[in-house]
Structures are given as C-alpha cells and as structure tokens.
Symmetry: D3
C-alpha cells in the first residue's frame, strides 16, 4: 500500500490536525514509500525499533514518538534512534493525544470497555481539549471488584488509593499520566479515576480532595489504543501487523 | 522569637530571592507574630497541618507549600488547607528549590552524605540554576552496595535501573522528581543518578542513553533537607521543633 | 439556600465564563455551605467584611474582589482580609467585568437609566469585549442638565470636562475607570462619555480629541450594579440582603 | 547649538538608555538641526505645542511625549500633534522615567527638597528600577505641617489620607501616579507616601495596609523635574529657555 | 469626495480588519478631508511622495506603507517621509496583505491572469491566512513559454530555477517575497511557483525539494494590485488617479 | 582525531555558547567518532553532502546547517539530507553567527581584509550581539575602486547602490543578509556597507537614508569564514580538509 495514502487515512481518522503539535503527531519520520507490514508499539526506543526491524516492518505506529517540542540537535539518543530508523527505511507514525482521545480506538474508551462501560461524556480537559471519558455502572461496584477486573484484563498489578468513595458508580479514565484531571473528577462527582501514572504531588491532591484513584501503569493503559488501531488497520487494509511488547513496569 | 526576624534569617540563609518564585518560597501564609514552636514537614496537607496544630506549633516549615503559580480561587482543597492554617494562627514557611540546592542543609548534599560523599560540583540545571550536586567514591562500588546503604539509611525500599554502569565511581543526586537531569548526568559521565521519582518517559530516556538510576522515593529523598534545617534552627535559636512524618510511599 | 446552587445561578446569569479571569470572577473565597443572608458591597476591604460580619451575612457579593492576577503570598492585607472572611465562614462572590457589562443589572445600563435612556448598542471595547453601552436622547440636552441629573440621582458631586460637545445627543457609559474608551467614543460620535475616574493622562487625551466627559466617581458609578443584583436576588430567591456603603470619595 | 550635541548631552546626563523604551525617551520627533530656544512643559498637547510655537522655540523638552508603546497609525490626536510639531520644525525631546528617577534634577528628589529633605535611599521599584527616593526628618512632623509646606511650595491644594501614621519621620516620594509603591512603602516603614495621583483602587490598598498618603497632583508633582532641567540647560549652555504652564488640575 | 467615505469603502472592499496589523493597513497617515486626486504606487519613499505632490494628489494608495510594527521614534527616514506627507496634506492609505490576497484586484490573481489562468484555489499560507492562489493550464506549457509571457507582460527580465518540473500544468502565484510557500507548493503538486524575490536560503530549499520557481521581481509583481485597484477607484467613483512608477529593479 | 575533542575545540574557539541557538550551532548531527578528513562548505544541501561523501569526509563543517528553530518532522528535504548524512556516518558541525562575528576567521573580518583594512570596531547589532566590523581607509577611495577589488578577490560580479557617499573612507561589513544594519551604518557615519544580499525593502531604506551599499552575493561573502576556518584546522591539527564550492549565484 502507498505510504502517503495510509498516512492520509490515519491523519483523517485520528483527526491529527485538531491537536496541538508539540508531540509531532502524524508521519514523524519518513521511510519507504510502500508499506505492507506494520509494527505497533507504545514507545519509540532502540528496543522497539529493533523489534520492528527484526519483524521486517515498513512502518512503526506508536503512541510516543521521538520528537517532543522540536529537535535542535540530532545527537545522543535522538541520533541513535533516528539512525536505526533511517538505515532500515522505517516510517514512524505517531498518535499521541489523538490516540488517547479517540472515541473508537482510543486508550480511554478502551479502559472503560474493560469494565463493560460505554463512554457517557468526554472528560479530562488538557490544553482546552477533552482527552478522556467517563462512564457509569448500572449497579455501584466495590472498588476492589473494579481493581480486580482491570488487573486481570491488563494482566498487571494495580494500586488503589481509596481517599474518596469505596463503592463506585461513575468511572473516569485517563491513560498514562492522568492526574491533571483529579480536580475535574472530584468536581464532576466521578467516584473513581483510573489512570496510569501517579506521583507524589498527585497523591497529595487526591488525598485532600478527597478523590479515589486506581493506578494501572502508564505502559499498560496505553497498550489499548495501539492494539485497537492495529486491529482496525489489519481489517480495513489487509496489511500485516504485529505488536511489540516492551513494558517498562511503570 | 519574633516571626519576622526568623523569616529574615531563613530568607537570607536559604537565598530565597535567588530562586524563581513559581513555588512562592518564603513566608507563604502569615500567622502569629511570635514563634516558639515549629513543625517541620515535607508537604502541606490537611494531615500535616493537623499534626502541626496538635503539636501546638506556631509555624510550619515545609518543602512543598500550597501555592504553585498563584492562587486564583480560594476554594476546594486550597480553602480547606488555608482555613485550618488561618484558624490556628499557623505561619507557613516554604523552601522548595532553595532547600534542594542548599550546600549545607539541602536535600541533595544530604543524599550524598548518606554515602559519605562530599559534594564535588553543582549539577542538575533547572531553569538556569543548578539544584543538585555530584560526588565521587575513592573506590568504585557495586550498584547493589550503594542501593543497600541508601535503603537502610532512608529506611525504605529502593529500585535500581542498571541501564548504564553497574560499578559506580561518580554519583549525582537530585531529590524528588530529578529525571530532568538524566541527559546531563550521562553527558558528564556520572555513573549513577540518585533521585526520588521516576516515570514511564524517564525510563525510556535512561534506557537509551544508557544511564543507571537509583530511585529512592520522592518523599523519602526530601525528608533530608527539612530535617537538617530543623536541627540548625533548634541549635541556633533554641526553639522547640518537631518533624511530622506523613510518607506517601511515592 | 444551598451555596452551590446560588453560585451556579449567578455564574450563569452573569455569564462569568465569558470573561477573562484576571479578576477571579465567581466564588472567589469559599465559606459556609448554606446561604440565607447576603451582604452586597462595591469593594472587599476590612471595613466591608466587618460590615458583612456585623450584619450576620453568609456571603458577600462584590464588584471588586481581593484577588487580581493570582495570589502568590497570603500575607499583609491579603492575609488580614482572608482571615476575617475565613474565620467568619463568609463566602465571597465576585462579579467584576460581568457586572459592568450586564444588559440588565450592569453598572453601565444603570448609568444610562439614570437619564431615562435605553442602551442602544454595546460600546467600550476592553480586551475584545464590549463592557459599556451608549444611548441617545430624543431631544439634545445641555451638558449642565445631564450633570445635574446624575449628581442628584447618585447623590454626589460630578465634574464635567467640556472639551467637545456641550449640547448632548448621544451618551456612552463606562463605570469606574472608563477613560480607555475615549478614542472609541470620539470615533463613534458619542457626544458625552460618562465615567467614574479620570486621571491626568486621560485629561490630555480628551482635551485633544476633543471629547466631552462627565466624571461621577469610581465608587458611585459602581454601586448601581451591585444594588440591581441585590434587588434581583431578593425578589427571585427571597433571601435577606443588605448593602454596605463605604464610599471612597473617588 | 547643534541639536545632535544637545541630544547626546541629554541622553547621557539622564541615562536614557538605562530605561525601558515604551515611553520612547530621547529625541522622539525630529525638527530643525540648530537649537537656540527651548520650551519646557510637562505634557505634549496641542496647547503646549502651540505655546512652544508662539514662544519661537526650536525644541520642546517634556516629561510626557506623544508616543507610548509605538504608533501604528498617524491619525486623530497623533496626527494633529505631529502636524503642528512638524510644520513648525519643532524637535520633541522626552524624558519620562529618566526624569522621575534622576538624582539631581528628578521629580522625586525635587519633592523631597521641598521639605528640605535629602534623598536617603532609592525607593519605588517599577519594572526592576527604583524611580523614587525617601528621606527622613530629624524631628518627626505632624502630617498637617507637611501638607501645608507642599501645598504652599507647589501652589496647589493637597489631600491627605491619614490611614497610617499622623506624625511623620520618613517620607517617600513618587511623582505622578505613584500608588504602585504603597506596599513597598508600608513594608519599609515609610510613614508618608507623597504622590501625584490616587485612584479608587489605590485608596482601598492604602486603607487596609494601613499607609498614610499625601496627594499633590499628577501635574504639579511633575513640574519639578522639567523646571530643574530647564535651569541646568540655561546655565550650562546659555540657551534661551521658558516654561509652558498648562495645569490639568489632576 | 469625503476622505472618510473613501476609507470606509476601501477598508470594507479589501477586508482590512481580517488581516494582522503589523503593516498598519488602512489609513496610515491622515491628510486633507476631501479627496479628488489619488496617486497609486507600490512603495512609500521620498521619491514616490514627491511624485504624488507634483501630481497634486490628495491621497496616496500604496502596497508598502511607512510603518511596520509601530513607530517608536519619528526621526531619520521616518521623519523625512512623514514631513513631506504632512506638509502636503497627503493622506496615506496602505493595503499590504489585503492587496496580495484580494480575489479581484489582488497581486496574485493578477499574476495568474497574465497567463490567462483563473484562480482555482487559495494557496500560500502566511500567519494562518492564504494570501495567494494557484491555477491550472488546460494544456501543459514549457517553462520557457511561461517565462516569456510573464517577462513580456510585466516588461521585465525574469529568472527561472528549473529544479523540479520543466513542463508546467499548475502554477502558484505569490507576489513579492513568496518563498515561504515553497514547501506548500511542492506538497500540493504545484509545478511552478511564480514569485517576486528569491534569496540564497530560498534557493537551497527549492533545490532540494525540488521545486521549479520563476522570479519576476518584487516590485514588478506588486504593481498589479495597485494598478487594478486604481482602475476600480476611477471607474467606481470617477476620481482622478495616476500611477507613480519607481522600480527598484529588485 | 577524536570527534569530541575537535568539537570541544571548535565550540570554544568559536564561542558557540555565546550565541542564541535558533540556528543550532555546534555538532548539529552526530556521525562517526573518529575524524580524519573534513569537508567545508557554505551550505548543507544534497549536493554538498554528496560532495563530502565523494571526498570521503568524516565531518562537514558549514555555515548554514539543516535545522533552524527545531525540527518537528523528519520528512521531505530534512529527511533526504539527514538520510544521506546518517547513512554515510558524516558529522555535521555548524557555525552560523559565530562564524560571521569571529574576530580572526569570521566572514566579516574576512571582507575587510580583502580591502587590506583592519577591523576598527564591532558593528552590526543583531539580537543584542555585534556580528560585523567596520574599518577605515587611510586615503578615501572612489566606490568603483572598492567594487573592483571586491569583485576580483571574490571572483564575482558586484552591484553598488550609490545613494549616499561615492568616495569612501569607512567601510562596514556584514556578510549574507546584512541589510538589518543599514540604519546603524548611516547613524555611525559608515560611508559604505558591504553585504551579500539586498532585497526590495532594503533598497527603499538605503535610498531614503541615504546609504551607499555594495552587494557581493550571499554565497560569496560567506565563503571567507569557512575557508579561513579550514586553513586553521589543517594547520593546527594536521587534518585533511577540502572545500566544496556550490555557489547559488545569490
């Protein structure tokens, strides 16, 4: 398949132009003009690029690219990653916020669907855009139950911070580092915020609001989007696809 | 002791005016004019304020205050924290970057001294200021040995990411969220970066540099500065002091 | 009445979210959750807060709050005002530009109505929003006549600067410090600008345009909005209300 | 005298390049190349320009010029003023902040000298520069006495706001609109702030600090600098000089 | 004709308020109130102003005015130009980007029409606005043919840089310094970019894209808009008009 | 020779850290660690990179790199250039403003030396740094004579714009696009400005100042610095060096 046609489809489907470009969404690094085999990964590291090369991919589609805010020098890790991409003619396509927020293949609708919840309304305002969603159980669930389901389906351990509600009716989901949405969650009466990463300062905010939080891992919560997109690409275009799993444990 | 005299001493000793004021260093919230008893804590939360009140403190001295970048509304957690401070006439004195960077009582010289290292040179440029230090062992040490000492002395568990060197000669210390210094550490040939908090994106940078990292907890690494300052204040002014330990586990 | 319901009504009725937030419009300082008695005032000073406390108010609604551009330190006058508010559980609700510009209870429609004029069109562009209005007499009036009416109805002395027209057909109103609108007034053929405050630099502009101006006092011109809002709140919700009059003479 | 030589002297003597240029200090509008007769005024208005023309001046030296923050259009009052300047070959030299702050001919040392005070230390930080001074009486004076002297020597009426001290030892002076220095005055223990203009918002700050203030008129307090500079120019260069008095009463 | 009516017509017809105002579009310098005779020119220089004066014009309408980004000082060339304008009561009306982009009288539709092409779609994004157009030949033309037509019709020599296509189907036009549109031209498959000015850095971009370029002179390409507007003004209002030709050869 | 040592020498000698980094001075793209053979060129284009590869260079040292203001996407010409650099392990070292301004090997001292002039004083303020110099003939020279010498020594044709002086005593030099210094040249009494590139807008400024200008080509005027640096590197380190001449004619 022609690379530019695929890029046009992705730009369109993911509404790339609607998002601020600090993360350089879209075709971030050019490679070969024809694409038959695509590697999907959460991150762009030497290991994932190597995985793509070994798998004979023509393109990588990732959530986290290698340019944030513009490259001023192509040295050090930027050089090493770029050298491996370029010497192997690999295209690098990036979908960061567009893949968090997408209503069909996004990380956040993906998190809700692990709990059999449908997204009820957008949630999680980040730079004037809502990148998450929340949903509502028909019957309130104990927080332990929610934690158990997420842990099983993501095949990981999860932590809960039960500062607020312990019986959960509404659930908000923000994959990755979603603690910026703590105050919005509390204000909107969302009983539980599911997110990926949770630091010291976030803890202090959640504690005093108080807001209950379930932390399932930055990496794990962001595998959902790339995997859903992978399925769509395979089905729609009949291309070869594979997922490269390189968890950070964080 | 007169509150204003104590504040003048602290502002001077910690060189508060040399630091950018987004974290509102100095006397952040006014309280009673006479100060005899001071509570020290890492954070300003309802629990630590409550601890100060129960301990009959006249002032809290903390690393993390309650204002970051200016308060536009005094509602929600800001209201609750401020209400408890004001109703108890508690002064709140904040030393954020000044207490990371201080050459005598700072968190980062504190971390090095746990390893019996003297700070050799400033390190860790943050907004044009160096807020950390690095030191050098006379004899290189295995990373496990370093991890064991830190774990014991901070009474916590530590994680190591052995992406670079495993036998350590030079050690850089940046308490709290110090991953911004990963590339500087690698460039300067610092074998091990000790820091408090380490997220998914930091992992990817350290992995590809590659740079070895020891993670000892945001909270734990930032108890050193307030405790050292507490000792100084007691010895110099003969005031009553006590430490409020409210770890976040992060 | 529940405080949050009242705040929602006010935010909505005054279209608070349409205005830039440097003046922190809306519930600026939280207080008790139930509100039965409300004090209205132009300004937030120790005296007006004291007046609200003595009058046993649960909330103050003011034109000028106590936060402008974010509070970095809660010391000095900010501390004193906040302490009195918080220790008395007083809510502070602020409507600055929203109350200048409002088409029903605003200061500026209020000024026009003193002259039995209906607002004809918005006027007075300030940060891309029009915050005043102008109206038109059926019969042109001598400026002395207009001055006399304003002086009587606001119970104050007024000054006129008769640099332009002396017989007035169109009148623009910008309460408080409205001299920013001098050039717009001249360009739009508004015969008289009524405003509250007029400084040396404003005089020079009006003189050379030339533009006639009537100055009725910053304080006096801004009593109209809070009083109109007070009436509305009493009638609509049956709450106890009272006005605290603390003129500055300016 | 050659115009460029005079401009060089003034730029140097007043240290024009040390001040931010929003007020376009220095030779703001070019005119004839030879200068024998100079008009001094506080403001640049059609009347003062006319005064300069009638007095057959070759240059005007003023405190307030006609460009603030860059001219985008030369229409309206800018056109009228500029036309009169240019058609009469009048040079316009402006010294705004440089003439407030100057240690010999500045407005603020001038105000202190009316009270036979010597400037003790710079005061009044405005955009990182101190533009005023304060001085100290040997014997404390009642505020009425100070007011009486200022009123007599400036030949005007003054207002006092006796919110703080009524017996005055230290006096700070900021000509024109000097209320930005209220909090600094209070913090530094300056008993009385003398300034020119004082608005509604300034009143509220002074009231709650509390800080005593003497208001002597924006215009009147800024005649001192241009008159002192006039004397210097006459004595040093033997040029013809005259002062154009166009008070605004503000 | 009344000057203000003409200005209103022009502001409206050229949609002046839709363009960023760094070039101070609209009536840039005021002159006499009645306008019967108008000089048109590309630039505002002493020579073109002199030409307008000799031709007894009441107004100049130009593509390049004399204010860019605000005038801070009226000295040197700004003074000389302004003095000549003001002493001759000449109005100066400026239409910079509005005259590049206009769909009827714009420079860029003008360039396409030299080749008998109709504008097909806007092109040439500059500060979020499209200021050029592109068109399409029914039959592809050799680049030499296109160059010959442009050279003849503009009565000038042109240069071609045949880095890309040599047989031309689509032509984009950006008068003046239009090299900012090189990458957009290449991306949109525009075979030839016609522009006015082309520097060293532009050459390097065109070479490597590769993109063919025809350079016809900054001055020459910008005579089209003012001449078209001149024709419109004469026909619509019956005013006297004349064009002042002062080519720079660039 | 070790690449990092050479880079350290160059960074130091050219004072790279003293210049704003929009042009990413220093090692812009990493390549092989050992450097024995270095290609020098004015620009980074596919042709000059190809020249370096054919010449078996390990590093290119250029005046114009390939990154200006940060790369957001590595596609199009950026991809093509980078691919050729990376696949050939070529280091790219950039010295833009540092090589204009250098007092020994800089382009601008180079231009003066063509005329046997020594730099008298820095000149040409660009973003708060002086990047050029001016010198003075012992005997004034006719402008034609100056033009002839420059033309011969740079082996090119030059244009002169004799708007000001025609007999030249002082000469200022700003290689490349140096017209930003026209007003400074005029103000400082510099009789002739020598520069490389001169556009339509520059012409208008020079014409009205009036200022005489000699234009010798952007490319040609910027060959001097890289050639002087090439000589230094060969002599100091004994490395193989060669120059790639790819003139743009501009």
């Amino acid at each position: 398949m022609n690379r530019n046609e695929l890029v046009s489809f992705l730009d369109d489907y993911l509404q790339v132009s609607a998002y601020p470009d600090k993360s350089s969404n879209g075709l971030q690094v050019e490679g070969k003009a024809e694409v038959e085999r695509i590697a999907f990964a959460v991150d762009t590291t030497l290991k994932t690029i190597e995985g793509a090369v070994k798998g004979k991919a023509d393109m990588m589609i990732v959530h986290h690219g290698m340019i944030w805010g513009g490259l001023n020098y192509i040295t050090g890790i930027h050089y090493k990653r770029l050298k491996m991409l370029i010497e192997n003619d690999l295209n690098l396509y990036v979908a960061h916020l567009p893949l968090d927020a997408h209503p069909e293949v996004g990380n956040n609708v993906g998190l809700l669907r692990l709990l059999d919840l449908e997204p009820k309304r957008p949630f999680g305002e980040y730079k004037s855009l809502s990148i998450g969603f929340y949903g509502e159980f028909e019957e309130p669930q104990p927080i332990e139950k929610v934690a158990q389901i997420i842990a099983e389906k993501l095949d990981t351990t999860v932590r809960t911070y039960e500062f607020g509600k312990r019986v959960i009716k509404t659930v908000g989901a923000i994959s990755g580092a979603g603690a910026f949405a703590l105050e919005e969650a509390y204000r909107k009466g969302i009983d539980l915020l599911i997110t990926g990463e949770f630091g010291h300062a976030d803890y202090l905010t959640a504690l005093d609001l108080p807001q209950s939080v379930l932390v399932a891992g930055h990496y794990k919560t962001e595998t959902l989007g790339v995997k859903a997109l992978m399925k769509l690409i395979r089905e729609r275009f009949g291309l070869d696809v594979f997922f490269i799993d390189e968890p950070t444990g964080l």
